[in-house]
């Protein structure tokens, strides 16, 4: 810093609330004022030299600030450096440290341990502490009402119970809804590989805190963090003897195994009793508060240099500061106690304000080489704490241009942020992050992959006919709904009904949920047959005891579901159907509260809270005028549209009871089908060989639709979480599928040459191929065996197994070539030819082409004899999902009306009469009044993009002959595709320019 003159002073008005100077906005560029300021500042202020800059702000600790004294300024500076340490604590560090033996030892009395930090101005130790705006913003909490807190220090008692470092270490996990960047990736990583949280370790005896960021909070990553911690502890000569954690991931097999291997002990806090893990929870609070204050400080003083994804560095630096700061009570820092070594506080004296601008010497000059005379000798960077891997004086500096983070030694710090532009307003990033106080609660371990899932499909995205129908009415579009019901009656599973418990669940009637209201409003519309008492089997007449009782996990049962079911129960008739009784009790109160918060969020804020997750698919298009984020990217529409038919288990629980019960039945059917085929057996967890991985399993749901959009089947599939699978290097996963142009070629041949075609569907195709070695699976979510710890031993390949497709292809290919006399096409690996017969398959859907029908049917018979389980579906039209209608004049009309309708609905172009048989440009002009299409400059730029439609229908792009260029930064692009005689899609991509 420059030393102040003190003679010429520049009075800067101070904003009373934040204690920040009010920025001088748009000073008229008078030479005099410039001179005054530059002489006062003595700072190489770029803003001053160009005077055109709109905002100039000063640091509170700047020499020119008259509102606080020089001593207070120094105190403030140290406060910033030490991660916004409390002022009382800070001043204590500046005084000589008390020693425990001082009472008896004369030498000690005469030679007290020197203070950790020696301030330049003596009165800094004693001056009245100023306020720090960052602390006030970042750490504010409720004031306790009229009570004072007395800190009673027990004399000479520093610690009880655990006196040696390593005896007991508390562990816990923290999560962040905002992904944190990795140190070595220049901040360019995808969302899925950012830091989403981590594990914190806190040693009881010393208070030593270490945190390790993790990309996922799964057991594997947590064990790696544990190993890292133990390596660091070993460096200090500390052996970790036992851990204390809450349940969650620390109860997982993998973590327990790691403990057993290193001969350690673990005890848990009670289920739901987070307070029993108080040490770790407190440690999280300590470091996050420090980190938040530091980040807030940067965001206020240097908005351009602030990125929220830098939180891992802030957190790491906060841990570092905590470990090196001498304690309040007895003057030793946690790291001194942990390593049992006395240090001279060099580390702390070197501490610099986190996030401050730094000036790094040019790399050539660092190496002692020369650079051109007029070239800049340094570049600006940002200080992000000290490198854990280098010498303790080497800081991590972020390159502002490239985003790379490198350890640098030749660095000049600008801790007062005097060379960068600040702001006096609250930073918009922070406002955006904290304005609604609603945090995103991460998924539980069972659903760890939820991290990358997208918001539920909003009601508005449903097709119009689904929107206007009630959920249950929608169900009746499914033809086989009734058979589901009867199937359930045949089984008559005896589920223990815990409806009473559900009724006693505490709910807040003051928060009605929209979904719930719908349920209440609609029950009269229910068709009477489902609620007819004659169809209800009586409660409690169990024909046979089921092996597994379905035990729905409460975390999947959002409160609005419970709420709706309980309220409907009160209202009467519908929900006492046998289907609804398949749902039983609610457990796990520990998750309940979080879920309650999550589920009670209204749609908008929830969407807002998760939007970072969508950044990958959504180019965030921000409207420059309103600052609002546009969500209308076509790909995000695709995501939402497809999500409608692939619900999550969590979403299924929230559907109307009739529909969700239909899903539960399909789950039962799936498990029963797999067991019937001897795919898997249940064994005790203890019977699994020690070297075998137990892979998690989950559900994949799908509503199957006909080409016209009607639902005809609800399909639940029990799948392996293949992403967690560990393969040997020799195992491969690639499997080919038939090329669509081949399929089109075949279908054209079939039509042109009047060939006979049938399509077949291999039922549970993957399951038909046998695994080279059995694998072990956890039971699927929602199923459990009471009182026993069981896993599945699987002999055949299941869906989700990453080798499944390859194994299936190999199995089918072998059978075709070796047993059935086919030869494989040299071009398309999924096309098989034998005399008079063509067979192509796309994973489990096959198409057979032959001159005579008898040949095709004979081939199907051959396949069945070869051990394949398959069904005949239709001709190739069904294969392609196209309706083929012969016309009177001998031609054929191909169309996909269901798809067209869905796209039109998704694009809110529901004015069907206009759309049908209307040239595209007329539709455009028809919709020209919609706000999305109107543009101030009223001209349209059309660009070439293909909108892909499933083959063989031909997607053509059609554009209006208007090709003028916009001057406005907001260029809508129209993408159109034409399909048969109807317009398929118009989509727009608002794009910001430059």
């Amino acid at each position: 810093m420059h030393s102040g003159h003190g003679n010429t002073r520049f009075q800067c008005p101070i904003e009373p609330n934040t204690n920040l100077p009010i920025a001088l906005v748009k000073l008229p560029c008078k030479q005099s004022s410039c001179e005054t300021r530059s002489s006062a500042n003595h700072i190489p202020c770029s803003a001053c030299s160009t005077c055109h800059s709109s905002i100039v702000s000063f640091s509170v600790a700047d020499e020119t600030n008259q509102n606080i004294t020089a001593a207070q300024k120094e105190l403030l500076l140290w406060h910033w450096r030490l991660g916004h340490l409390g002022f009382v604590h800070l001043q204590q560090i500046m005084r000589p440290r008390p020693t425990l033996e001082s009472s008896g030892d004369a030498y000690q009395q005469n030679h007290p341990i020197p203070p950790c930090i020696i301030p330049r101005i003596d009165s800094t130790k004693t001056c009245k502490p100023p306020l720090c705006s960052s602390c006030e913003i970042a750490r504010a909490k409720r004031r306790s009402c009229d009570s004072t807190v007395h800190h009673r220090l027990k004399e000479y008692v520093l610690k009880t119970d655990h006196l040696t470092p390593g005896t007991m270490v508390s562990v816990d996990q923290y999560e962040s809804s905002v992904g944190g960047r990795l140190p070595d990736t220049r901040g360019q990583e995808r969302f899925g590989v950012k830091y989403m949280g981590g594990t914190i370790f806190c040693d009881h005896a010393s208070g030593y805190i270490q945190c390790f960021h993790q990309v996922s909070l799964r057991a594997t990553d947590t064990v790696i963090s544990k190993q890292k911690f133990e390596r660091i502890a070993k460096g200090c000569g500390v052996q970790i003897l036992s851990y204390h954690g809450d349940n969650g991931v620390f109860g997982s097999n993998e973590f327990r195994q790691a403990l057993i291997e290193s001969d350690q002990f673990l005890n848990f806090s009670g289920v739901g009793a987070h307070h029993q893990n108080g040490v770790a929870e407190r440690a999280i609070r300590t470091v996050t508060e420090k980190a938040r204050a530091m980040m807030q400080h940067v965001s206020t003083h240097w908005p351009d240099g602030f990125e929220i994804s830098l939180w891992p560095f802030a957190l790491h630096h906060a841990c570092w500061l905590h470990n090196h700061t001498p304690s309040h009570s007895f003057g030793f820092s946690p790291i001194e106690l942990f390593c049992q070594t006395k240090s001279a506080c060099h580390h702390l004296q070197r501490a610099r304000t986190w996030g401050s601008p730094t000036y790094v010497l040019d790399s050539k000059l660092q190496d002692g080489k020369k650079i051109p005379k007029w070239a800049p000798k340094a570049r600006r960077g940002q200080f992000l704490g000290y490198s854990p891997d280098h010498s303790s004086s080497v800081g991590l500096i972020r390159n502002l241009q490239t985003g790379s983070i490198s350890p640098q030694f030749h660095v000049v710090f600008d801790e007062l942020f005097s060379t960068v532009l600040g702001t006096q307003d609250d930073d918009p990033v922070w406002i955006e992050l904290f304005h609604n106080e609603q945090e995103y609660y991460g998924p539980d371990d069972d659903e760890a992959d939820d991290l990358q899932h997208f918001p539920d499909l909003d009601h508005g995205w449903l097709p119009a006919h689904e929107q206007c129908l009630d959920n249950t009415e929608r169900l009746f579009q499914m033809p086989n709904m009734q058979t589901h019901t009867s199937a359930d009656q045949d089984n008559s599973p005896s589920f223990t009904s815990q409806r009473n418990q559900e009724d006693t669940m505490p709910f807040e009637p003051s928060h009605p949920i929209a979904h719930n209201q719908d349920q209440d409003a609609q029950p009269d519309n229910e068709p009477p047959d489902i609620s007819t008492p004659a169809e209800l089997p009586t409660v409690g007449t169990s024909l046979e005891r089921r092996l597994r009782t379905r035990q729905p996990n409460s975390k999947f049962f959002g409160n609005d579901w419970v709420n709706s079911s309980s309220s409907s129960h009160q209202s009467g008739h519908l929900f006492q159907t046998p289907l609804s009784r398949t749902l039983v009790g609610i457990h796990q109160p520990d998750r309940l509260q979080e879920d309650q918060i999550f589920d009670n969020l209204d749609w908008d804020t929830r969407f807002h809270g998760e939007y970072t997750g969508l950044q990958d698919i959504n180019d965030l298009h921000t409207d420059p005028a309103t600052g609002k984020v546009e969500w209308q990217h076509p790909f995000s529409m695709g995501v939402k549209a497809s999500n409608a038919d692939t619900p999550m288990l969590r979403e299924i629980h929230k559907l109307s009871p009739a529909e969700s019960n239909a899903w539960y039945d399909s789950m039962d059917v799936e498990i029963a089908a797999l067991r019937a085929k001897n795919t898997m057996i249940e064994i005790n967890r203890s019977d699994v060989p020690a070297d075998q991985q137990i892979i998690k399993s989950t559900w994949a749901f799908r509503r199957k639709r006909r080409p016209n959009g009607d639902i005809y089947k609800l399909k639940s599939r029990f799948v392996v979480q293949g992403g967690l699978q560990i393969l040997t290097p020799t195992e491969q996963t690639y499997s080919p599928v038939v090329d669509w142009s081949t399929v089109r070629l075949l279908s054209i041949l079939a039509t042109a040459q009047h060939l006979h075609s049938i399509t077949i569907d291999f039922t549970s195709a993957f399951v038909q191929s046998t695994l080279p070695a059995p694998i072990y699976l956890e039971l699927p979510p929602g199923y459990s065996v009471p009182g026993e710890d069981r896993v599945f031993k699987v002999f055949k390949s299941l869906y989700g197994d990453i080798r499944a497709a390859k194994l299936w292809y190999q199995y089918l290919c072998d059978a075709l070539v070796k047993k059935l006399g086919f030869h494989r096409s040299s071009i398309d690996p999924c096309l098989f030819i034998r005399h008079g017969l063509i067979f192509a398959f796309y994973v489990d859907d096959g198409i057979i082409l032959s001159a005579r029908q008898a040949d095709s049917l004979a081939f199907v018979q051959e396949l069945r004899q070869a051990g394949f389980d398959l069904g005949i579906e239709a001709d190739y039209a069904g294969y392609l999902g196209v309706e083929i209608a012969p016309q009177a004049d001998g031609t054929l009309l191909l169309s996909q009306s269901g798809l067209i309708q869905r796209i039109l609905n998704d694009l809110s172009l529901t004015d069907a009469t206009t759309v049908k048989a209307t040239p595209a440009h007329e539709i455009l002009s028809h919709h020209a009044n919609s706000p999305l299409l109107t543009n101030p400059s009223s001209s349209i730029n059309l660009s070439w993009e293909n909108f892909s439609i499933s083959p063989p229908t031909l997607a053509l792009t059609y554009h209006l002959p208007i090709t003028s260029v916009l001057a406005s930064p907001f260029i809508p692009k129209f993408h159109m595709a034409l399909l048969s005689n109807e317009l398929v899609a118009i989509s727009w991509v608002p794009k910001t320019k430059g």
């Binding site: 142009s741 070629l745 039509t751 660009s943 792009t957 399909l979």
Partner: protein, 181 residues
């Protein structure tokens, strides 16, 4: 889409290109603005099998060159399709049209490009490697009577629709060629 398939087993390919078509409408400072777009459609028995509309990866220096790139791209799709068709036809005992081979025709509406592709001796010495590779590769595969390149008027060029915005009348005509309505 209304189709009325013919009995013939002829693969017909229409290839076209729009030379530097983005230039007027996008940022002239962006190198992309001078790229050409190639479009082609391959039909079997008069029905589209495969089609494409892609911005070319390299910058063509003339209309002829861009058309040539489009020709080369279409041939890359045409050749495997021919082989598959041959295999399938052999498997099903379908008699190909006239010859023992299944013949294919590529229609091209640019005379300069046509001359370049077919003339013997060759008219052009490829100046750059990117063109040379396409040039020689393409010429190697042209077998008279099996894979022919023939001229077509721009009006009948079905692939026109894949390359640039068309006037409504022209668009309707091209759509009629492809979709039958």
């Amino acid at each position: 889409m209304i189709i009325s398939p013919s009995k013939s087993l002829k693969l017909v390919c229409y290839a076209d290109a729009d030379f530097a078509g983005l230039f007027a409408s996008s940022d002239p400072n962006d190198p992309k603005s001078v790229k050409s777009r190639s479009g082609f459609v391959i039909t079997l028995a008069g029905i589209p099998v495969s089609w494409s509309s892609k911005l070319q990866s390299e910058t063509a220096l003339s209309t002829m060159e861009s058309e040539y790139i489009a020709l080369s791209q279409s041939l890359r799709v045409l050749l495997p399709l021919r082989l598959i068709l041959k295999e399938v036809a052999a498997g099903l005992n379908l008699t190909p049209d006239s010859h023992s081979n299944i013949c294919s025709t590529i229609y091209e509406d640019n005379q300069a490009c046509l001359a370049l592709a077919t003339s013997d001796p060759p008219k052009m010495t490829p100046q750059s490697k990117s063109i040379a590779v396409k040039y020689h590769w393409f010429r190697e595969h042209l077998i008279p009577g099996v894979i022919d390149v023939q001229a077509i008027s721009s009006e009948d060029q079905a692939a026109d629709i894949f390359t640039k915005p068309l006037l409504p009348v022209v668009f309707a005509r091209a759509r009629k060629l492809l979709l039958g309505w």
